[in-house]
Amino acid sequence: MKPSQLGLGCGVAGGLLMTLGIGCTPDWTAASLTPYANPFPKDDPQWALQPHRSKPQEVITQGDRAWVSLPGTSDVPDDRVAVIDLADGSVIDRVEVGSNPQGLVLSPDGRSVLVLNRFSNWMSVVDSESNVEVDRIPTDFYATEAVFSPGGSTLWVTNRWLDQVRIWEFDADGRATEVGGVKVGVNPRDLAMSPDGRFVAVANLTGLTVSIIDTESRDLVQTVDLRAPPNGLAFVGEWLVVPTLSASSNHLPFAGPDTDGDGQPGDGTPNSNFQDSQNEIAVIDSETGTVVHRYTSDTICCKDFRDIDPADAALYGELLPPADTWIVGGALPEQVVADGDGAWVTYSGSNQFQRFDVDVATGALTARKVFDTSGHNPHGIAVTDDGRVVIAHRLGETLGVYEADGTVDANIVVGDVSDGDFPATDAEIGELYNFVTSKFSVDGDQVCASCHREQGNINKVFGMPLSAYGGQNSRMTMAARGAADTRPWFFEGAMDQTNFRPVINEFARVENFCCEDYTLFPDGAPADCASNPPPECAEEPNAYTPDGITAVRGSALAHPRPTSSLTREAFYLERAQAVIGRTESFGDGVYAEDLLTGARSPIPLDLDGVTKSLGVFLLQNTALLPNPNDPDDPTALRGRALFESTTSNCVSCHPAPGFAVSTDVNPAGVAVRMDPVVTPNYSDVGMNLDLVSVGFQSIFPMVEQDTCEALCGEAACAEDPAACDDVRNLRINATPLRGIWDRAPRMYHDGRAQGLREAICTPGHPALHPGERGFNERNGVPDTNGGTSHLSPAEIDDLMAYILTL
């Protein structure tokens, strides 16, 4: 138990004596975390000064007043909460609080707003009348969201660093005492209290589970595995409504790993690659922890040419969710708020929001109309006493106020547009694409940020495109963080920030556009196709694919093309104009250069322009969450000595500053790749599932992969293309370790290691905990990923402690 009272005498100037948090803890010192440095150099021609942004995130209301947290970014955190008068749409104040404020909760008496400051070690108590931080209640870093018990005597707070819900109790005088915590899943963010006060439900964002805690016993009573990120949650009666994503993993229906735990290979979903990723809302019975309903995208079929028709039995179409569950009308369902017998959901990936009615008897949802937001990247949502909906537009820097019929009452600037409306730079165009990708996808379903939540990774492996055994391989989701630490990127060194178009290609494959559809015109479409489309362009060839790769025509199951655009370029430019209001880059980081004169000019925001914008965005922002672990802790210092020792030799492949080998730190300026340091991922029949496809290699010379023919000869490979898979290697670059403290537990390229301990320990190492396995070996030879077999369990702990400070 840790007393945590802190009063005005502890360094907060002025203000009223508040109901909450009276008192002081003398040995407590206010502190805030320092953002990671970004090694992307200012003299890089793609570097540009970026506008300051506040990134409005969460919103709460009381009467005509709204409070909006302004966390900024992890690289440049803000430290304010905006106070808005909803009656006249004015910003009354911006209150200074701690660093990176996120969660907001109104005290039961309405006199205070508690603000959870992720990068500071306190939560702020803000007087709701004077708009001043009048008190600070000490917390650990990364207190994120909070909810009061119905009577207001207990406060439950999620903590991302500790993976816990911490608990405070308030006495009759409002004195707060931290009384303990409950271990939950990985990266808990949102939480909600059941109306009867019996349960607290916690959304473990990257851990992919929902934890349900009995508030009386304070025990974790249910863990609901969604196999997808719970992006938010709210109780509607006894039903827990959870915006999430699909549980499938891009594997073929009856091949690949058993990702759903049913004892059979494959995940049972017929769509392939990114088309398998859908937007969903789960309804959970809080009493039993049972998912009683799971709704999916209303466009799950059939727009993209790879979509499977549910009537197509040959392609396992019957395995698609039933059509009456296709009611989720936007992309990346993010936050949810209860409103009577219903709930409103924001779609951060498509700039939309939608209301669902909830059947109180069954928990079934009925969808209402989808509305567009008045700003980019809607996140937090609240409902006013008079039934208006208010939404924080995280990228738009505004607060939208809407009538229940979707009418926009106001779009109030609450963040920072002093350097121009968003997007104002090429990096911001890339940022918009990252978080609102669906606007540029042909079926409106897929979003980069769905799998790269907060630009980190989620605890899940996917069957990835570009692999030799598509639909069967498994790759851990990559964190889109620390991009300047290691270049080239993707598939361990095949691409860089300018040319990762095969990844972006997944959102709008060229086969969807008539004049570029090589499956329709193998020798090229007529030269005037775009201005004078031939009759073939009126055919309906798409959404029926026997192999998930090629379109089939003349089928009774054919569907219209997804857009009227005849070329992908036309599609992108039309979307760019509609979403961004321009069709060219700004030219500050994304440009074409005349190599003879050095003159630079903006480029069109087609696939290439958008890809390069996203690349610049990833370089301009580390997106690494500031590290709360103490590098001067004796344990970490001992671990550092081990990390740098010649016996472990960790530092050879993971040198500072990025703790990876990149072109930037390699004097030769070329990527350094090596054979896999752990046993490759083999299928049951010996296929090397790590290998990339022949086609991919054909256009990416940077890929380093053995050929079957070179090792086994053409005759053997003609008979069996996998003949040499046991000795073929894809050579890869080292994984960057900076920021590893916050990544999802699964590690290694295929996610086989369930945490850092399994990644660094050799098989059978005494440091392993019961049930853990060590994977630091290759084909039975230990210590291939650094020498650790000689370390004691205590030394393994030291080494881990150091790595978690990087």
Binding site: G695, S698, M702, V703
Partner: protein, 181 residues
């Protein structure tokens, strides 16, 4: 071409079908701009094609630049850089191409390996995949290769042609529909 292969790059032995002409412009011209070249020494290089049978052949006037389509329909042309600087080990390549009636296309290919003065294959991707739009149009191509101390800039002009949309890698052509997800 084994010496020009980077880690088993499967394009290194492909048949290249550039028809050669005479308009290739070797580097060293006084108007070469291109950023920080002032801090580096310039060397001369040539732009051309390569075949196992014929070796490197510089582009000439009226060069035919073969349009190639592969892997998910991406459209590209390819080229090789040759230099008398036999000790040049590797460099980053920047490519720029202006197609008649279209926007400038630009790209980078970091870490291009050189062996005995000949580069690995350099690929210039089109932003659109509309093959027939580009076919028959004139194109001006510029490639700059640099390492920490040296650079060269070389240009060529030609016509985009489409003999066969598939990429040829050794014996078997790779067409877009063959190239997997």
């Amino acid at each position: 071409m084994a010496g020009c292969s980077v880690g088993g790059s499967m394009r290194s032995s492909r048949r290249v079908a550039f028809a050669l002409g005479a308009a290739a412009c070797a580097s060293g011209s006084p108007d070469t701009g291109g950023g920080d070249g002032a801090d580096k020494s310039e060397f001369t290089c040539e732009l051309g094609s390569f075949t196992e049978e014929g070796g490197f052949a510089p582009f000439g006037a009226n060069a035919e630049l073969e349009l190639q389509m592969g892997f998910q329909g991406f459209l590209l042309v390819s080229a090789y850089v040759s230099t008398s600087e036999r000790d040049f080990p590797a460099g980053d390549a920047a490519m720029s191409m202006v197609v008649e009636g279209a926007d400038r296309i630009d790209g980078k290919q970091p870490g291009v390996a050189f062996v005995d003065g000949l580069s690995d294959e350099i690929l210039i991707f089109f932003t659109a995949n509309y093959l027939s739009y580009y076919e028959g149009r004139g194109a001006d191509l510029v490639v700059r290769v640099e390492d920490v101390s040296r650079y060269c800039v070389v240009s060529a002009s030609g016509t985009l042609v489409d003999d066969d949309p598939c990429i040829h890698t050794g014996a078997d052509p790779i067409c877009p529909e063959d190239t997997g997800p």
